[in-house]
Symmetry: C3
Subunit: 169 residues, 3 copies
């Protein structure tokens, strides 16, 4: 006979898997939201008070602030007449209740005179929050991988936190 | 005491997770099937009447048709004497019964005189169907990300559909 | 009424999903471990007797051996003063008890005089093992995708094995 406790333990494991896949879905949605110029859909991926904390020159001196700021980026990319692609690679994901983090690489491809080139390669930490049942980005830290200690620390600290959460020793 | 209904609800959630991972597996299989020249294995990823609806010059004027068409692409790539890589990035996945869609970026790397360069960056929508218990590609829409409205619409519409299915507002 | 057998079957399906996501997490951790210079965390991803069997010139004549060898690679990358990124793309994953394989593409981006370029594109087979409850890499086979039969076979054989395990015909 299956006890309520056994069932509820299994349900918790299923919920954790659902959370992880929902976070993959969120991370996978970023690039299409921007490169597709999907303004409203892009905004929804972020919290109202989101901060895209990026050192990309196009992100201004202090990154992009708020859902409105993100929507403006999607609008601008949607209006570009040359190719641009924002790629986010398979991240390390850690879930803790209604908070989660995702850590990994990203790069952009830009088209110029018909040829594609790599415009930027960066390290990323996504601080996520579950709001109204959906995972959203509260802060994305994005640092160009140029050999700086700061850009490496984003990856190293993110991995360290994830291994601790996963009890990997 | 656990009711049949509770159990069956949980089983449905597990099945949805299994579907999503099976679709990741399918999408992840495309590149290796082509670049590995795995002719039979490449064909199996697609339905008999598949359509690889691509605007790549190498795909002809109307894309690649049928499982046999896909097998021919795998055969050709398998015989190439220089490096070629078909990369599919983490997609947005939506499942609806025996149908599903996957939306995201892809790019190719080609080798020329020992150096790798980016041959193509594209937006993609994969229309999938479960046949004989396995997910297969019925149609893949692939548009070069060159700033065209059509290439952006593939991403924007795919994201919109997925957010609607996931009840994200 | 839910029988113990039904419950245990469902639990087995959940465990398989957990294994697959744990393997995604492991594969996603490789790049950050190296590019972040996270020496100890990098080593933990591998078994003590690991073999990074790579034909990259930087890997020496016979690849990198042992956890200590991997740690040395992470240390070296962590000390580089220019940008370097190790990207692992969404893999095909097959689990068989406490063993698993992951197959797919990887590429590196290097920075030179402020510009990023593609240093290497390769095919990969990761032979994984569950040790002390955590998935670790026992051997990673990595071959430059230069048109060689060997580099293609890594992908083709990996896909073949995965389709056989998944009963895809």
């Amino acid at each position: 006979m299956v006890s309520d406790e056994e069932f509820s333990t299994l349900e918790g494991r299923v919920r954790e898997l659902e959370d992880k896949l929902a976070i993959y879905q969120l991370i996978a949605s970023y690039g299409p939201s921007i490169d597709g110029g999907a303004v409203v859909e892009a905004g929804r991926l972020w919290t109202d008070d989101a901060w895209y904390d990026s050192d990309a020159p196009t992100a201004g001196s202090d990154g992009v602030h708020g859902r409105a700021g993100i929507e403006a980026v999607a609008k601008m990319c949607g209006e570009m007449s040359v190719g641009v692609a924002h790629i986010t690679h398979l991240p390390i994901v850690s879930v803790d209740g209604d908070r989660a983090t995702a850590v990994g690489h990203s790069n952009t491809f830009h088209q110029d005179a018909g040829e594609f080139h790599i415009a930027r390669v960066a390290s990323n930490r996504w601080d996520l929050e579950r709001i109204d049942g959906a995972w959203r980005v509260r802060r994305r830290t994005n640092r160009i991988l140029d050999g700086s200690a700061e850009s490496k620390a984003v990856l190293a600290e993110g991995l360290r936190d994830a291994q601790e959460a996963d009890h990997i020793r």
